[in-house]
C-alpha cells in the first residue's frame, strides 16, 4: 500500500485526540484481558497432578452435601494422610453487607490439613473444649473490633427457621503469608450438626484431604470418585483452585457477569473508536473528495480509513496488553484466595490482539463505507 505515509500522517493530525483514543483503547483492552484471564481461571482445566491437597464435592454441585461417613472411607484409601470436612454456614453478622465466610469445621482434623492457618495452642485448646466456641481470621476480627472472649451473634436462615446463633470467640488465626486468607470464621461441626434440621444432620459440605505425596494426586482422585460412583452421593474430586472457582461461582453467574461486562467494554470501545474515525472522516470530507477526484478509488479510500482505525487499534491494543502483562500478576496476588491464580497466557495475548484488530476493523468500517460512498461533487459543494 503506497498510501501508508498518508495513513500515518492522518493518524498524527490531532495528537490529543489520538492520545485519548489510544488511551481508551488501552484501558479497555486491559479490562478485556483481565476479564478474559478471570474467565479462563474459572474454566481452567482441572489439573490434579502435583497437588498435595484435594477437595471432594458432590458431583451434582457444591450446594449438595455428602454423608459424614465418607470421611472415614476416604481416610482408608492409601495415599490419603488427613481428611477433614467443612460445611458452609452462610450466616449474617449484623448486616448483609458484613460478609465473611463461615464454616462448620471438623475440629479433630482441621489443623492437620490446614497447617498454614496459625492459632496459638492455648486458644486452640480452649476452642476444642468449648462447643459454642469459634475462631475468627485476624482480618475479620480486626474489621469488627472483636476480642477474644466476645460473644458473636450470627443470624442464619439457611437451616430451618431463622434464628441467631451465638458463638464465643476463643481464638484468632493468622497466616504467615502476607496475602493469606484471614477472613474465615470457624465453629464446631458438632455444634452445627446438633442444631440443624434432620435433613442436614450428618452431612459434610465438602471434604479436604491432604496426601502423602503430590505424586498420588491423580490416582487418589480417581479412586475416590470411583468408590462413590453409582451411589446416591457421587463425588467429584478436584484441586483447591478448581474448588475455589466453583465456590466463587456460587455467588452469582460469573460467566454471565464477565460476558456482560466484556460486551459493554466492547461496545463502548467500538463507539469511542468509531466516533473518532467518523469525526476524522467528516473533517476531511473535502480532502477525501480531492483524492477521489484525482483518481484514488473508492476502495482505496475505504482502506485509508480502515488503515487508520487499525493503527489506532494496534497501538492501543499493544499498550493495553502491555499494561495487562504488568498488572495481572499484581492483581493475581492481590486477589489471592478469592479467585484461582490468574495467568496471562500467550493465547490470551493473541486473543487480546485479535479483539483489538476486530474492534479496529468494525469501528473503521462504518465511517469508511461512508467515505467510500461519498460523492465527490456533493463533498466539494459542501463548504
Amino acid at each position: 500500500m503506497k498510501f501508508w505515509r498518508l495513513i500515518v500522517a492522518n493518524l498524527f493530525r490531532k495528537k490529543v485526540r489520538l492520545i485519548l483514543t489510544i488511551g481508551s483503547f488501552a484501558i479497555a483492552l486491559l479490562l478485556f484481558t483481565f476479564l478474559a484471564v478471570v474467565q479462563s481461571a474459572f474454566n481452567r482445566g482441572i489439573d490434579i497432578a502435583g497437588a498435595d491437597r484435594l477437595v471432594i464435592i458432590n458431583r451434582i454441585g457444591l450446594i449438595q452435601t455428602m454423608p459424614i461417613s465418607y470421611g472415614d472411607r476416604v481416610r482408608a484409601i492409601p495415599g490419603v494422610k488427613y481428611v477433614t470436612q467443612d460445611h458452609w454456614f452462610g450466616g449474617v453478622y449484623q448486616d448483609e453487607k458484613n460478609f465473611f465466610p463461615q464454616f462448620a469445621i471438623d475440629v479433630d482434623n482441621h489443623r492437620q490439613v490446614y497447617p498454614e492457618f496459625k492459632v496459638p495452642d492455648d486458644q486452640w485448646k480452649t476452642f476444642v473444649k468449648d462447643q459454642q466456641g469459634a475462631i475468627a481470621g485476624a482480618r475479620t476480627a480486626r474489621r469488627f473490633g472483636w476480642k477474644i472472649g466476645d460473644r458473636i451473634p450470627i443470624k442464619n436462615s439457611l437451616y430451618g427457621a431463622a434464628k441467631t446463633w451465638e458463638f464465643n470467640l476463643d481464638g484468632i488465626y493468622s497466616t504467615e503469608k502476607a496475602d493469606g486468607d484471614e477472613s474465615q470464621f470457624w465453629f464446631h461441626w458438632k455444634n452445627f450438626d446438633e442444631n440443624v434440621p434432620a435433613a442436614v444432620k450428618s452431612t459434610a459440605g465438602w471434604y479436604i484431604l491432604k496426601l502423602d505425596s503430590p505424586d498420588d494426586a491423580v490416582r487418589v482422585a480417581k479412586t475416590i470418585d470411583a468408590q462413590f460412583a453409582n451411589s446416591s452421593y457421587e463425588t467429584k474430586t478436584e484441586t483447591e483452585s478448581a474448588f475455589a472457582a466453583s465456590f466463587a461461582k456460587q455467588f452469582g453467574n460469573i460467566q454471565f457477569l464477565i460476558v456482560s461486562i466484556g460486551s459493554v467494554v466492547f461496545f463502548t470501545l467500538l463507539l469511542v473508536t468509531g466516533n473518532t474515525m467518523a469525526i476524522s472522516v467528516r473533517e476531511r470530507t473535502g480532502e477525501l473528495a480531492v483524492l477521489k477526484a484525482i483518481g484514488v478509488t473508492d476502495r482505496s479510500v475505504l482502506f485509508l480509513v480502515l488503515g487508520e482505525a487499525m493503527m489506532i487499534a494496534l497501538f492501543g491494543g499493544f499498550l493495553g496488553l502491555l499494561l495487562a502483562w504488568a498488572a495481572i500478576p499484581v492483581l493475581s496476588v492481590a486477589l489471592n484466595g478469592l479467585l484461582p491464580p490468574l495467568l496471562l497466557s500467550k493465547a490470551m495475548l493473541s486473543l487480546g490482539l485479535v479483539f483489538a484488530v476486530f474492534v479496529g476493523m468494525v469501528s473503521g468500517l462504518i465511517p469508511g463505507i461512508g467515505a467510500m460512498r461519498m460523492r465527490v461533487v456533493n463533498a466539494l459543494r459542501r463548504v
Binding site: F3, N10, E287, L291, A293, I294, G295, T297, V377
Partner: protein
Amino acid sequence: MIRVDGRGDSKSLIQVRGLTKTYRRGGEEIHVLQRLNLDVDKGDFVAFMGPSGSGKTTLLNLLGGLDVPSAGGITVDGDEITHMSGSKLTHWRARHVGFIFQMYNLIPVLTAFQNVELPLLLTKLSSSERRHHVETALSVVGLRERMNHYPRQLSGGQEQRVTIARAIVSDPTFLLCDEPTGDLDRKSADEIMALIEELVGKHGKTVLMVTHDPMVAARAHTTLHLDKGVLVEASQLEQGVVAGGVA
C-alpha cells in the same frame, strides 16, 4: 478550434453533444444544462463565465467525470466517458484529468512533494521515477526548493501552484480549473494565470477554466458564457444583450 454549435469534427479532443443535467429539488426540476454542445481541440485554453448558479461547476464536473449527465454524451480523445462504470471512470480521471479546485486541494499533513506525488502513487512508476516527475513538476511551477514545506508554510498562491504541479505531474490529457484564483489576491492571481498560460503556450496543455474574473478570463483563447443551460461565445452574447436592450 472551439465551437459551441455541435458541428465540430470528430478530431476534436473533447466533444460534448446534447449535454443535459437536471437536478430535482423537492418537487421542482432545475434544468441546469440543456442540450449543451462544445468542441475543444488539443492545446486550447477556454474560460467559462456566467452568473452564480448558471451551471459552470456542474459542466466542469461532468467534463471531469465526477458526475453523470441526465442526457447527452462526452467524448474525450475517443473515449465516451458518459457510460463508464464508477471504477472505470476513476481510472480514466487518474489518467486523463488534472483538477485544480478553488480550495481543499492539498492534504495539510503531507509536504508539497508528497502532495504532488499522490497521483503518481496510482501508477506503476518506481519511487525514483516518481521523484524525478515530482521535481520536474515543482520546477515548472517554481517551487522546487519548497518541496519539503507543508501547505500551511506556503502562501495561498504557492499552494495553488503546488496544486497545479499535482495536476500536471501525471501529464493528463487536459486540465480543469474551477475558479483557480478565486481565493487569491490580484498579484497571486496574475502569477497563477501566467503559469497556466505558460502550460498552454510552452507545454501545449489543454485547459478548461471557470472564473468570475474578466481579467482572468481575458487570458484564455476563448471565453464562453453559460446562459440558460447552453454555451454562448462572448461576442454573440454581447450582440444578444444589445438586441435585447433595443427590443
